[in-house]
């Protein structure tokens, strides 16, 4: 009997530990040894680590591979034909100057992309449509056979291995902080031999961060900001270790969900959202006209219990414009825009490019 009780106690403890431990993991950004790491191996060869810790050997054309890597984790660089599924992969490729020449296939239909160049590419047939995130068209993917497939979906790996198409996971189980996003640029640049562009990108972003920080330190009061999504009966918020929360802090804002940590938008209790919402001056939400939310009233209709929060009464509500998600390469401009929203007195005459105000 004691054995049985012990077994049940152990089971309960294991379950509790399973729930607790992932949340206790550090949620820091990437480093050279972790996700999106890049390591020089000599003679132009490099080792990169993707978002889920898989190591890839990058071998310059004409050079031999090193032992110890599976065939689908050896990539000849510079990569010339890429398939992609995530909006920020597209933005990064655009900045690196390889989008028009290298993008040969995308996941998601033409009308679900905001970038004119991607849409035009799909229309003209230059960029192949490879299916939807929950239903990849493997036959078409095989026909296109990109040198590398950039994806967020680990479930694709066995089939892509079978098709001998190297697949790189460009999301991480951790939050994508600003630092990690910069590191991700180096990682992607290594595939195309565009390391100098990544360096340039980091310099531009760091300079802009410093400039905005300096400009907004003079303000007497930091506007209180919340960032999340309201659904019927439920709310999701961006954790404090997300890059958007970091951007708010850099832009001289006070991000109110400073006790929420996690990898992406998380569901929090309605009462916690309400409590912070009563103090917030500005509410950023991903719910936008693209998904039928074109006013504050629509958000209130979704969740009437939140009608009394300050952004709905006297404050401001902003949502991203459709191309925001495909504009990672313009992070410097996005930082300025957030600062302009938070401190309009410092950026008089500024016209919104990435966000729109919901009235």
């Amino acid at each position: 009997m004691k054995k049985h009780v012990l077994a049940v106690i152990l089971w309960v403890s294991a379950v509790a530990a399973g729930l607790v431990l992932p949340a206790c993991q550090p949620q820091s950004g990437g480093s050279l040894g972790g996700a999106f790491g890049v390591r020089e191996l000599g003679e132009g060869r490099q080792e990169i680590v993707d978002g889920v810790g898989r190591r890839f050997l990058l071998v310059p054309e004409g050079k031999s591979a090193l032992p110890g890597y599976p065939p689908t984790q050896i990539i000849t660089i510079p990569v010339k034909r890429v398939g992609a599924g995530l909006p920020y992969d597209i933005g990064a490729m655009r900045y690196l100057g390889v989008l028009s020449d290298s993008l040969v296939g995308v996941i998601r239909r033409e009308d679900r992309w905001a970038s004119a160049d991607v849409r035009a590419g799909i229309r003209s047939g230059k960029i192949a449509y490879l299916g939807e995130p929950n239903g990849i068209d493997y036959e078409r993917l095989r026909v296109v056979s990109p040198d590398v497939m950039l994806t967020s979906d680990k479930r694709l790996l066995p089939k892509l291995d079978e098709l001998k198409i190297p697949a790189i996971i460009t999301t991480t189980p951790m939050a994508m902080t600003i630092e990690e996003r910069l590191q991700y640029f180096y990682f992607l640049a290594a595939l195309f031999g565009r390391e100098e562009m990544a360096k340039q990108y980091e310099a531009v972003i760091q300079a802009k961060l410093a400039e905005v920080k300096k400009q907004t330190t003079s303000v007497s009061r930091k506007p209180k900001v919340i960032w999340g999504d309201i659904y019927q009966k439920r709310v999701l918020v961006e954790p404090m270790n997300s890059y958007v929360a970091q951007l708010v802090e850099v832009a001289g804002g006070d991000y109110l969900f400073d006790d929420v940590r996690g990898a992406s938008c998380l569901e929090i209790t309605l009462e916690r959202f309400f409590s912070s919402g009563l103090q917030a001056d500005i509410f950023f939400t991903y719910r936008s006209p693209a998904v039928g939310i074109d006013s504050k009233q629509k958000l209130i209709t979704e969740n009437p219990r939140l009608a009394d929060i300050k952004p709905f009464k006297t404050g401001l509500v902003y949502c991203p414009q459709p191309h925001f998600y495909e504009s990672l390469e313009r992070l410097d401009d996005i930082i300025v825009e957030i600062a302009a929203i938070l401190h309009p007195q410092l950026y008089q005459g500024y016209e919104l490019q990435f966000f729109q105000k919901l009235d």
């Binding site: 729930l19 019927q232 439920r234 006790d259 009462e271 693209a290 969740n303």
Partner: protein, 340 residues
């Protein structure tokens, strides 16, 4: 049913313990939350009223959730108990007849296609209404079938098939939906007692309360039914009407909870076992109130864990009910060393 019995006195103590657990769980849920409210302030808000933010949090958000968890748990547990007796099958839960999948299908139709249908100005109760229609639509089909089929096993299989059919259409809708809408739908599928309005709660309380009282009046025929349909018939039970009533009440209870909170797993399946094993009886007159109280207490405590374990981040309540409830049921079974 090889059950050693408890004395009436022991059972009384058990019922007092179950009742105390419900009260304690409700009090804990009221006092503890992601926004701290001191006991003195809580007392002041309840006793004297207040216009403060914490008063809004207590009255508009926390208390409806506390009551919904208690009610929902009680209703799911009783629904599961009824169906386990009806099918004489211990692994049957309230959603086995396709109630949950019916609700899910209609919610999917509303959530994943509102934009294309032009219902962008959705009412906040549209999802609840859709879930209710889905659950009761499936229930109506099941009831029509029940009227023509005698075998419980056949009905069980038809219920499972209904579930597959509903699931198939739902998956097609998901496959064609936009990511943002799928996110919203997945959130609903997690199930939660968060965000219920007082109106929804009054519906749950009114209809659910009536159904629960109605169930108790079925206790005697349920006991007769446990001993076989022939025996029940010899005791004067109208089998056809009785089968119809059991399925109607069980589905109606589960459908109401699903409409209000989304699918909440495990409670309807496991709590009846817990009640049966702790009360050591198969007498429906004891099992129904036992399951009701245990369902209320366990669901309430699970809801507390779901919202506090990583506070203010919420964990799906079904994850908590399954993680902590399943080992308890296994423990009870091992302790008894008997079949159900």
């Amino acid at each position: 049913m090889n059950l050693t019995t408890l004395s009436p006195r022991d059972r009384l103590w058990l019922f007092i313990a179950f009742g105390a657990a419900v009260v304690a769980a409700m009090m804990l849920n009221t006092v503890i939350g992601s926004v701290p409210i001191s006991l003195s302030e809580l007392w002041s808000i309840i006793g004297h009223g207040s216009d403060s933010a914490n008063a809004d949090i207590l009255w508009k958000i926390r208390l409806p959730r506390v009551i919904a968890a208690v009610l929902g748990g009680a209703m799911l547990a009783v629904s599961g108990m009824l169906l386990q007796i009806f099918f004489r099958n211990p692994i049957v839960g309230p959603f086995v007849l396709g109630i949950s999948s019916g609700a899910t299908l209609l919610v999917a139709m509303v959530m994943l296609s509102t934009l294309s249908l032009g219902f962008t100005g959705v009412s906040p109760h549209l999802n609840t209404l859709a879930a209710l229609i889905g659950a009761y639509g499936t229930m109506t089909i099941i009831l029509l079938i029940t009227a023509n089929i005698k075998s419980g096993v056949t009905l069980l299989i038809i219920g499972l098939m209904m579930g597959y059919l509903n699931g198939a259409v739902t998956s097609i809708l998901v496959a064609f939906a936009e990511r943002e809408k799928v996110k919203q739908f997945v959130l609903w599928q997690f199930g939660s007692f968060s965000g219920l309005s007082w109106q929804e709660l009054f519906v749950l309380l009114g209809l659910g309360g009536l159904l629960l009282i109605g169930v108790y009046t079925l206790s005697k025929p349920l006991n007769a039914f446990l001993l076989g349909e022939e025996y029940a018939l010899s005791m004067g039970v109208n089998i056809k009407l009785f089968r119809f009533l059991i399925v109607l009440v069980a589905c109606a209870l589960a459908g109401l909870v699903t409409a209000a909170a989304g699918p909440v797993a495990f409670i309807g399946l496991a709590v009846p076992h817990m009640a049966r094993l702790s009360l050591k009886t198969s007498d429906a007159r004891l099992l129904i109130p036992g399951a009701l109280l245990l369902g209320a207490a366990i669901t309430s405590l699970c809801d507390l864990v779901a919202r506090q374990i990583f506070s203010p981040v919420e964990v799906p309540i079904s994850a908590i009910t399954a993680c902590f409830g399943a080992p308890i049921v296994i423990g009870l079974l091992l302790k008894r060393k008997t079949s159900l």
